[in-house]
């Protein structure tokens, strides 16, 4: 056992370190970045960034996509070498001058004194070799040991990161691991040589929220146990709040604000930080206070009176055949009324997308009933379904993939109009122009192509397309999960506004519990094909009945470090129970 004390701060004033070549831990900072710039061709990804990290400290680098946070993290290990990027300034990591070091010096740093954990754990491990062999290979690069000792070390670190039955699992290949186990394996690889610095680049972005919580807890514990420094790169302010002491907010390659995490998140000084924090959806905030109140008129009673728009009874859908048959949706009953938003939350594989697609009959139910305005449509043949198609629309997750890149956005938005039989070009143009305007774009954007728009704008185009057919019900499948928080907030606000204005029914499917709370009147929690809990949003969030709902809510990272610690304790409690 090593020391349990976190090695935060310098271990006393032992004179100013004049040289950084000393390998032993001195009062020198673990990381010292001065005027770092990274240029990709004409684009400056990192712009004169400077920061230090003391041994054992933890720094969170937070920013939206394109802010240069990953490019900065890569520079710490010299990973821009040979990629065509130009790196300027100075980077000192654990005594190595990264920008000046030769290949050998760099290799001695990488993995041994500073190790990196990447975002996507599946693609970051070699699919062809057993996980244990890959860790052993890295260990042998830095330590003069034989194969067997290296394998033993691999099993040891796999066990340390909480992989059950590590000796056996070390012989499995990455595809035989679950997503969370893969990320644990990558962390084990990083731990193998006991580095002084761990650089984690969006380590939990590809994971479900409950798994994310486990990985963050693991990083937290490891840091306190080994005394290594942590540099955590993330777009998710909540993830940073859970894990670091200091936070550095980046925008367009440059620093916006830096300081202790409680101060920056609790009392931000810069306008951009405030804007960013305001956009982050919060689990604790009631929707009625923020959205409905603006309008004044209480909508809820009216909604309750309304007849159900769509009603699913014991809806099922199975995929595969024989022994491989899996029920993706296994008996779901729900209703959506006009003017109401039903949020469906669930982790990956819970069946929420399958359910959403069945509600608009993009997928045929295997069994169960589906009634639209009192008419049974679950088994209606395509020809008889046609009149309803127009009224049941969908907005998809990936705004890039769901627009045809070879057609102008105007043509894409016009598709439902043409499908409905509109032939008059002038009327189509007018209508598309009005729709584009309605979602916050310009009528002149008709001729533009999807690649000319940002992610948020593309999602607006997707919404305009769904609106074109004058639908009664729109199913949005993860409509904002590919967007940055500030964009996310705008798109969510647009959806809420459109719904109030047009009185449509909205089904909002997402994995992000806070986003769902922002928009939903009622919430359904999905797990393994069934709804474990369904009810008024405030009731579900404030007084969850189902243990799984409680587990999900406890796993959401909190913005306030104090609250984060409380949630961490709650998770431990739940895990023990």
């Amino acid at each position: 056992m090593t020391s349990h004390e976190p090695l935060t701060g310098p271990a006393g004033a032992t004179g100013s370190g004049t040289s950084s070549s000393g390998a032993a831990g001195s009062a020198d900072p673990l990381v010292e970045v001065t005027d770092l710039t990274v240029d990709f061709g004409e684009v400056r990804a990192v712009d004169r960034l400077s920061f230090t990290l003391e041994p054992g400290g933890a720094l969170g680098v937070v920013g939206e996509s394109g802010s240069g946070k990953s490019a900065a993290a890569y520079a710490l290990l010299g990973l821009h070498r040979g990629t065509g990027a130009r790196v300027g300034g100075s980077v000192l990591v654990a005594g190595t001058d990264v920008n000046a070091a030769d290949e050998r010096g760099l290799r001695a740093l990488r993995g041994a004194r500073a190790a990196m954990v990447f975002q996507d754990p599946l693609s970051s491990l070699d699919p062809y070799y057993p996980v244990g062999d890959q860790i052993a290979e890295v260990y042998r690069v830095h330590r003069p040991v034989n194969r067997r000792a290296a394998r033993a070390r691999a099993v040891e670190v796999l066990d340390r990161v909480g992989i059950p039955d590590a000796a056996r699992r070390s012989r499995l290949r990455p595809h035989e691991f679950s997503g969370g186990m893969r990320q644990r394996a990558l962390i084990a690889m990083a731990l193998a040589c006991e580095p002084r610095l761990l650089v984690a680049d969006e380590p939990t972005t590809a994971l479900d929220v409950t798994v994310q919580a486990q990985i963050l807890d693991l990083l937290h514990d490891l840091r306190h146990e080994t005394g290594m420094g942590l540099l955590l790169v993330t777009h998710d302010v909540g993830v940073a709040a859970e894990s670091v002491d200091d936070v550095l907010v980046m925008r367009r390659g440059a620093e916006v604000e830096r300081g202790p995490v409680a101060r920056v998140l609790g009392a931000p000084r810069e306008p951009y930080t405030k804007e960013l924090l305001a956009a982050v959806p919060r689990l604790e905030v009631r929707r009625t206070a923020s959205v409905s109140a603006v309008e004044g008129a209480p909508l809820v009673p009216a909604v309750e009176d309304a007849a159900p728009l769509i009603e699913a009874v014991d809806l099922r859908r199975a995929f595969g055949r024989g022994s491989g048959r899996v029920a993706a949706v296994d008996g779901v009953s729900l209703t959506v009324r006009a003017g109401e938003t039903l949020g469906i939350v669930g982790e990956s594989g819970s069946g929420k997308t399958t359910l959403g697609r069945m509600l608009v009959r993009l997928l045929d139910p295997t069994s169960g009933r589906l009634r639209y305005r009192g008419r049974e449509i679950g088994a209606l043949p395509e020809r008889e379904l046609r009149p309803f198609r127009r009224e049941l629309q969908m907005v998809f997750q990936d705004p890039v993939a769901s627009l045809n890149p070879r057609r102008s956005v105007g043509e894409s938005v016009a598709d439902p109009l043409r499908a409905a039989g509109e032939r008059d070009e002038g009327r189509i143009r007018d209508r598309v122009g009005a729709l584009l305007e309605r979602v916050g774009l310009e009528p002149a954007h008709f001729e533009r192509y999807p690649h000319e728009f940002s992610g948020g704008q593309r999602q607006r185009v997707g919404i305009a397309r769904a609106l074109a057919a004058e639908p009664k019900l729109i199913v949005c499948d993860e409509p904002v999960s590919a967007l940055d928080v500030t964009t996310q907030a705008q798109v969510v606000a647009l959806l809420a506004e459109l719904q109030r204005e047009l009185g449509i029914g909205l089904v909002f499917i997402a994995h992000d519990l806070a986003v769902v709370r922002q928009v939903s009147d009622r919430v359904a929690v999905m797990r393994r094909g069934v709804l474990v809990e369904q009810g008024e949003a405030d009731a579900v969030y404030e007084d969850p009945r189902d243990p799984y709902t409680r587990q999900l809510l406890a796993a959401v990272p909190a913005l306030d470090p104090g609250l984060a610690a409380a949630r961490r304790a709650a998770r431990r409690e739940l895990a023990r129970a």
Partner: protein, 329 residues
């Protein structure tokens, strides 16, 4: 894994069966007097009648085919005027023009073509994959550009040009090598190797160009993958990154193409065999087509098909061994 293997072999057998049906339909059910064609232009009416009887051409088509198939899987007897001639298990019929069983004819040529193909195959794999890896590694540098030009030139040059140049250079001008000739391995292994050196080299040079380009593009793809980045970020040396992690992912398309080439080479190395005077299957096939020796043509096409199917089955097996996920799907 066993299930995967059995399914794959079952598939291979089905493909071969389909091949026999198609071949039989094309050659024996074709319009015209099949017996006259098979027997050759100089046959007397009596001989033609005998061929008709032997091939059961008076029976319904499916009976004819059943006998054809029976010959392949179990052997069959042919009545000659005086008695019966037995044609043993993989019986592909009898060549009436050379008065020989087709199977014997092919078996006699198989070691010749086999020697040529296996040697050249090893050569082009080593040369092609090596060049491909090198040019992916040295991307954008002079080495890569030179190699790209060489492989382009290689794939654009016909085998008889390279072969002739090699013969002129090494046999006539420098006189380092004897004129290429085929000596069976069992007779004199050393002479066998010397005699085949030039055919191997020319075939390998031509074919390797294709492999170099394929390997290069596959390597560039895997070198850009996340897991390669991981090992670089952990201080693993470039040699190990390329040899162990990048190449492993790049071999799949190489295996697939090798299987096809290896199989077709058995029936298709015609030019090389003719140029170097190697009495292999390719030359025999050209001759059989020229004189319209129907049973021989059918037999050789079938044998070539067999090698293609076999090589593909082996390739799939190698695939599954290289990447365990294949056997799962």
């Amino acid at each position: 894994m066993t299930g995967f293997l059995l399914r794959r072999l079952g598939g291979a057998v089905l493909v071969l069966l389909a091949l026999t049906v198609v071949l039989y339909a094309v050659f024996y059910v074709a319009p015209g007097d099949v017996a006259q064609i098979a027997c050759g232009p100089r046959c007397s009416p009596a001989q033609v009648a005998q061929v008709t009887e032997q091939l059961r051409l008076d029976d319904p088509v499916y009976v004819q085919y059943a006998h054809f198939l029976q010959g392949i899987v179990a052997g069959r007897d042919f009545s000659t005027g005086t008695g019966a001639e037995h044609c043993a298990m993989p019986c592909l019929g009898v060549s009436y023009q050379s008065d020989q069983q087709v199977t014997q004819l092919i078996l006699a040529k198989l070691p010749v073509t086999g020697s040529l193909v296996i040697g050249a195959f090893a050569g082009w794999l080593v040369l092609g994959v090596g060049t491909g890896v090198l040019s992916a590694w040295r991307r954008g540098r002079l080495t890569e550009r030179v190699l790209t030009w060489l492989t382009l030139a290689g794939s654009a040059t016909p085998v008889f040009v390279i072969g002739l140049l090699l013969i002129i250079l090494f046999c006539s001008t420098l006189q380092w090598l004897p004129a290429p000739s085929y000596v069976p391995f069992t007779e004199d292994p050393e002479q066998w190797a010397w005699g085949l050196l030039l055919p191997w080299t020319s075939l390998a040079l031509i074919e390797s160009a294709k492999y170099a380009r394929l390997t290069r593009s596959a390597m560039l793809e895997t070198l850009a993958e996340d897991h390669v980045r991981t090992f670089r970020a952990y201080g693993v040396g470039e040699r190990a990154v390329i040899g162990r992690h990048a190449l492993r992912g790049a071999v799949a398309p190489v295996i697939a193409l090798s299987a096809l080439d290896f199989g077709t080479m058995f029936g298709g190395a015609v030019l090389t065999e003719s140029l170097f005077g190697i009495p292999g299957i390719g030359r025999e096939l050209v001759h059989a087509v020229k004189v319209v020796d129907l049973p021989v043509v059918v037999g050789m096409v079938l044998v070539t098909g067999f090698f293609v199917v076999l090589a593909n089955a082996v390739a799939d097996l190698l695939y599954a061994l290289a990447d365990r996920r294949v056997a799962l799907s």
